[in-house]
């Protein structure tokens, strides 16, 4: 190395090259270090929280605990003034029945509010379970990305909300949500969806659906608080988000999620 620089006979280049190498090594080291640090974060956080001083809300739904009573969907409609008609839901419950022949029967009559019956005869059932659905409060949410006026936004604490006074009703967000969580409110004529009961959350009250769940199948918590029961649950259970390949940064983690569920 020193030989090659001396043959060039230029001291200036020599120092600048050394400087360059130094910078390059530092940058590479920092990048690798940072990436390693970040990769451990990615396991827990769907994306980087924006504001360190705020909580970063996530949701857990334990499929093994859901009994399909539909109280959550009912409570949500009561709490959030969602129209009663069976076309508008901020949360709903699906009943999956995998038959012995491998086919899957999915139903959600009136979002599960009136409870469920099993239409498939017992001897044909391989397995059956309930899956509550709600907004995934994605941190890379496709609905926020596509809103042409920015009426949909992510709060610093990780909740996806809609500014009803700003929404132009183009419905692009409804198209962009892979989970079918959005609808156009028939009276307000703007996009509508689960707010994680943000009005309750800000008063340290649990969202209505979670408050009412008799089995505690739904939980919410601060993903940033590593010592909380919420994060401990995530550590001790094998959880999965819906449609991970779409990389929406979903913060709704399902425990015991079966492969049939979309």
């Amino acid at each position: 190395m020193s030989q090659s620089t001396s043959t060039m006979g230029n001291e200036k280049i020599n120092t600048s090259r050394r400087k360059f190498l130094k910078t390059a090594v530092t940058l590479a080291g920092a990048t690798i270090g940072y990436t390693w640090l970040k990769s451990t974060q990615v396991l827990l956080f769907a994306a980087e929280p924006k504001d360190e001083s705020q909580p970063w809300y996530g949701i857990i739904i334990d499929i093994q605990k859901c009994i399909g009573c539909g109280n959550c969907a009912k409570a949500c409609k009561n709490e959030n003034d969602v129209p009663r008609e069976p076309f508008f839901f901020r949360t709903w419950v699906e009943q999956y029945t995998v038959k012995n022949d491998g086919t899957v029967n999915i139903v959600s009559p009136n979002g599960g509010i009136d409870g469920f019956t099993q239409a498939v005869p017992d001897e044909e059932i391989f397995k059956s379970y309930f899956v509550p659905k709600m907004c995934n409060h994605c941190s890379k949410s496709p609905c926020t990305q596509v809103c042409p006026v920015g009426a949909t936004f992510e709060t610093p604490d990780g909740v996806v909300l809609i500014d009803e006074k700003y929404c132009i009703g183009c419905r692009y967000c409804v198209q962009a949500c892979p989970y079918g969580c959005r609808f156009i409110h028939p009276v307000k004529k703007v996009a509508n969806k689960c707010t994680l009961c943000y009005h309750r959350l800000k008063k340290d009250l649990a969202p209505a659906c979670m408050e009412t769940c008799p089995t505690g199948a739904r939980m919410y918590g601060n993903l940033r608080d590593r010592n909380s029961d919420f994060v401990k649950y995530l550590k001790e259970h094998t959880t999965q988000v819906l449609r991970p390949h779409l990389n929406t940064g979903s913060k709704l983690y399902y425990n015991a999620l079966s492969g049939e569920v979309r």
Partner: protein, 398 residues
């Protein structure tokens, strides 16, 4: 029970399999089918006009102004189906003053304005300025002032200025071609960029939109040229039709290839959405995809256009065939828009079922409204052809 809900209960009764409860109501109806159809006609008509100008295809000269005015007429209406489809149309301006930078839709207003104001209006103005100055001197009464206003007070028609008119018009055409590509490729991107919907999400969609736009625009100009000649009792120049027909054939082949590639790719990769899409195309979209778009809109026109390149006997028959081909192609492209927009919403994102779609007749997003938005540009075109008749333009020596 409100009538709106009754309509939804009817759809619920016709839903098949499992759909998410919020998916019963189709979000984008017939107006959003009309919107890409209209913008496609604009882009296509403009590209045909540019062919004549930039590549100096002399034979297309009689269609140049017709194509430009057709593009303008449809462009003026292009945003209307969009705005009338919004559930808060009075807030539409927000998209211009507070556009959200990550939204594909937010840029539409700017792409649109660029295309309207910078490309089309300027090109037409430079093209017609000489004639408008002459007409403002020749005409009497109010029309004299109308043309005077249209010249924007630039009444200099010395050869040097006219040369500049031509030069600037040429530059705008050159800028206009990529603009037309952007305008319609962009409309495709609005659909193609939605990862939630496997029927839309494809990098080929913008290109397919672009080529189908060119197909529809070329067919429309051919049709307008024939109708205008018929109304003016002038004979239709068969050489013009043959020439447009040749372009139509090549673009249609490209369009067909791209769309086939898109489908073959889907079939071969057969991702998780494959089963539901297979059911979609073989069921609810069968008539509009295979019959209207494939057979009527593509295969029959392609065969006819090949035939017309060789068949040179009965002139009347040839003209009739071109007339029919242009209508078939327009039906085909409209069906393509339908298949994309409506087809993409018929299956559930749970990939486990279908909702159904019934077009309403009345209301802001009903069939009558869609027909109105399709007829309005024809009305505007009639007016523009009367105001700025290409056949009465002042001839310039090149």
């Amino acid at each position: 029970m409100e009538p709106h809900y009754q309509h939804l209960y009817d759809i619920l009764a016709h839903a098949q399999g499992y759909i998410f409860p919020n998916e019963i109501d189709l979000q984008w109806g017939i107006l959003i089918v009309v919107y890409p159809f209209i913008t496609g006609l604009v882009a296509g008509a403009f590209i045909l006009a540019s062919l004549e100008r930039v590549f100096k295809v002399k034979i297309l000269k009689p269609t140049y102004q017709i194509a430009l005015l057709t593009a303008l007429s449809f462009l003026l209406v292009a945003t209307m189906p969009l705005i009338s489809h919004l559930s808060q149309p009075q807030r539409a301006y927000e998209i211009m003053i507070t556009p959200h930078s990550s939204s594909a839709m937010a840029i539409f207003g700017f792409v649109y304005l660029w295309y309207l104001a910078v490309v089309l209006l300027l090109e037409i103005w430079f093209d017609y300025r000489h004639s408008m100055v002459v007409w403002s001197n020749e005409k009497k009464g109010i029309m004299r002032y109308v043309y005077k206003v249209l010249t924007l007070g630039v009444s200099d028609i010395t050869p040097r200025t006219l040369k500049w008119d031509r030069k600037l018009g040429y530059i705008i055409t050159v800028v206009g071609i990529p603009s037309a590509f952007i305008l319609h490729g962009y409309v495709g991107f609005i659909f193609g960029s939605l990862k939630a919907n496997p029927w839309w999400s494809s990098p080929l969609i913008p290109i397919i939109f672009l080529f189908s736009a060119m197909v529809s625009g070329i067919a429309l100009v051919m049709l307008v040229y024939m109708i205008v000649s018929f109304i003016r009792k002038k004979s239709i120049d068969l050489n013009v039709l043959d020439s447009i027909g040749k372009y139509l054939f090549f673009v249609l082949i490209l369009d067909f290839t791209l769309e086939s590639l898109d489908q073959i790719h889907r079939i071969y990769e057969a991702e998780e959405s494959f089963e539901i899409i297979k059911l979609l195309v073989s069921g609810k979209l069968y008539l509009t995809l295979f019959v209207a778009q494939g057979l009527i809109g593509t295969i029959i026109p392609l065969i006819t256009l090949v035939f017309l390149q060789f068949y040179k006997h009965k002139i009347r028959l040839q003209k009739t065939m071109y007339f029919v081909v242009s209508i078939l192609v327009l039906i085909g492209v409209y069906s393509m828009r339908w298949n994309v927009v409506i087809g993409g919403q018929l299956f559930s994102k749970s990939f486990s079922g279908f909702t159904s779609f019934k077009v309403g007749l009345i209301g802001l997003d009903g069939t009558l409204m869609a027909i109105f938005w399709l007829l309005l540009p024809i009305g505007i075109l009639t007016f523009l052809l009367w105001l700025l008749p290409p056949w009465k333009m002042v001839k310039e020596e090149e």
